[in-house]
Symmetry: C2
């Protein structure tokens, strides 16, 4: 049998994925599992979006244009302008989820051996798509005791080599919920400018900023307009992760030319998803306000609750719907495994995401977990009790 690809060997197998069979087995044993491990919101998709497919009157579900349906791109352009993001129709490419936007961005900008700098903890699939493109991620850990703020620029500068081609951020951040300040965004801008880098900016959680601090898009940064590639997705904001509709946005002619070629190779983004996405953008202001308020309350409730548990510390996340918390445990991979395979409290347990999957620097995140507040307050309350009880008896407790 021929040897499969080295690239395949390199691809990470997420620690969360490894735990899924354990969660399934717990359920088989009659245990109720609270899923705090993934970014799948429990909120309903807007009724208006569901109606758009229920009322579909097409006879043929045909290919859509490779760059996406014009009317959807137009609505997105208007949406972005409400955030002062100057993205015109011709700057917007519809992709199969934010995932494909990341992949196409890397493919269009990076060659094998090229390097991108990423502050971590970071969304695990940035690394996966870097491997797909043959690129190398160089990362610098942001520290939980500094609230995950951007490490000093001189740390990043140490990583610059002749192969450094880009800088990647997620803002508001998955997994930390951190929101970059104007000053931090300016530091990033200066670095990008000084070393002439691409700035890949994943901003899918822009709707969810809770502290009144401003959301600074990479598109707001003056003087690097041609360096920025914005990654977006409708998945989280309208609770429609399954339709696989994202977007790649760039003002740079050369990037756009490349992006179009990769988009043409895969023919077109999902048609029905585009119809759903288009229906979600307009006339859903009430829905968005309700979602925002719901997440906002859950956030306060969860963070207060976490910080009341002895030995647990969570910084206050400013955006998205995650927090990365520190637990008094020896190894969060082991702890999360133990929660699913050995622990129960009143026949219930919780599924947390070990933070090791969000770091590439070895040893980091060993006592951290990501908690997604994608369950309602009642379930969050129960989950907090389960966590507290679990930590009381976990054999690998450290303090």
């Amino acid at each position: 049998m021929p040897k499969t690809s080295k690239r395949g060997d390199l691809m990470p197998f997420s620690p969360i994925r490894k735990l899924v069979p354990l969660a399934n087995k717990a359920i088989e044993r009659g245990i109720k599992v609270y899923y705090l491990n993934i970014g799948q919101p429990d909120l309903h998709t807007p009724e208006k979006a569901l109606d758009a497919i229920r009322n579909i009157d097409r006879k043929i579900l045909e290919y859509s244009p490779s760059e996406g349906i014009y009317s959807l791109r137009k609505k997105l352009s208007e949406y972005y302008h409400t955030f002062n993001i100057d993205a015109n129709v011709e700057d917007i490419f519809i992709t199969c989820g934010g995932s494909e936007a990341i992949e196409v961005a890397f493919m269009s900008c990076l060659d094998p051996g090229d390097e991108i700098i990423v502050p971590e903890p970071a969304y695990a699939n940035y690394e996966a798509f870097a491997i797909v493109a043959g690129a190398v991620i160089k990362s610098i850990p942001a520290k939980i005791n500094k609230g995950f703020r951007l490490p000093p620029m001189k740390e990043f500068e140490k990583l610059i080599t002749p192969r450094t081609k880009g800088f990647m951020i997620c803002n508001p951040n998955n997994p930390t919920g951190y929101l970059y300040s104007r000053s931090e965004m300016n530091q990033i801008k200066n670095l990008v400018k000084k070393y002439d880098l691409f700035l890949f900016s994943d901003e899918v959680y822009r709707e969810f900023c809770y502290t009144g601090a401003p959301y600074i898009s990479a598109f707001h940064l003056k003087g690097i307009e041609n360096n920025v590639i914005l990654i977006d997705s409708v998945s989280k904001r309208y609770s429609e992760c399954g339709i696989r509709i994202g977007a790649l946005i760039s003002k740079n002619k050369e990037i756009k030319q490349n992006v179009m070629k990769f988009c043409q190779a895969r023919l077109s983004p999902p048609l029905i998803g585009q119809i759903v996405a288009e229906a979600s953008i307009e006339g859903t202001e009430d829905y968005m306000r309700d979602s925002y308020e719901e997440y906002s309350e859950r956030r306060k409730f969860l963070i207060d609750g976490l910080n009341r548990i002895p030995g647990v510390y969570s910084p206050i996340p400013m955006g998205a719907f995650y927090t990365l918390a520190k637990l008094p445990v020896d190894d969060s991979d082991k702890f999360c495994e133990w929660l699913l395979s050995e622990f129960e409290y009143n026949k219930e347990t919780i599924f947390l995401a070990p933070a090791s999957g969000f770091y590439t620097t070895p040893g980091y995140g060993k006592n951290e977990v990501r908690i997604a507040y994608v369950l309602d307050k009642k379930d969050l309350a129960t989950s907090l009790i389960i966590l507290e009880k679990a930590l009381e008896v976990y054999p690998g407790r450290t303090e």
Copy 2:
């Protein structure tokens, strides 16, 4: 501004795509254009499939599993078994169209610099996805005057190097409509076995075989079960190209492990498309029979008509819904351009695909075009008249 990727520079820009603006301009001039250039069927999507989305009763359009929804994979498994293809549920990965299946297959099996051998003319995006994976396509032209049958194996053997990792076929073939015989498939099997290659087999047109000759799947070949990666898609058989649902099928444990990692990186295939695809597989026997008969009649009508035009020659395609025909012209790129920009007959013209896009060997396909019989017989009749009239006056006519 940083330099975009060399990979992006390498990506082909299809000659068909270059002609689209000319077609749009022709329409603006009041010319009716018959689109024979693309594989977008005009047949309606099955009503049963459309009903499946009209009746959707979900509250959340959530992520589906990375490998695809179980019930769809199960129905596909049963479907494949009716073709004597031993694909079990655990061998089937749902992808975002056949396109993603090709990409993931290449990513899972090939590293930068690895080579795959492809008989040409071939579907242009094999080359695109090879470039995405950093792999190199080595091709050998099949000859139109031999009906596009497989070139002799010794021609392929000449291309084998230490980097040769795979062989790729499309059967029934896009763009030629050729269907590989049992003897040809055995030759391919022997080559794959002798040099221990992966066999990538794109079989999305299996439903459309017209001559009574058997469809031999790569999965039917004994002794190379671990080498075969089958590419499939529901797009063409149910006229639902827009839903982007394909499949990658393999019995090989190592390949499947890799494939799963790439599938997890992009999270999940489109949810609603999977619902449509699942509804299309069962209870659509009448629809499939009608489609088959329709294409079958069109094929006969088109090929007869083409071969009656002086100087035109089309082999008799045995499957799919394309033919690659030879025209008495100097350069089919120029001819196709001329048809859209300078010619009209009764205020109408035709859009053909220049064959140059299906060859990587320079100079090949210069007087060939691909014609997709995705229009009804009335429109095909008109298109044949337009082609005949055009050839009578085309300034670059060669005979």
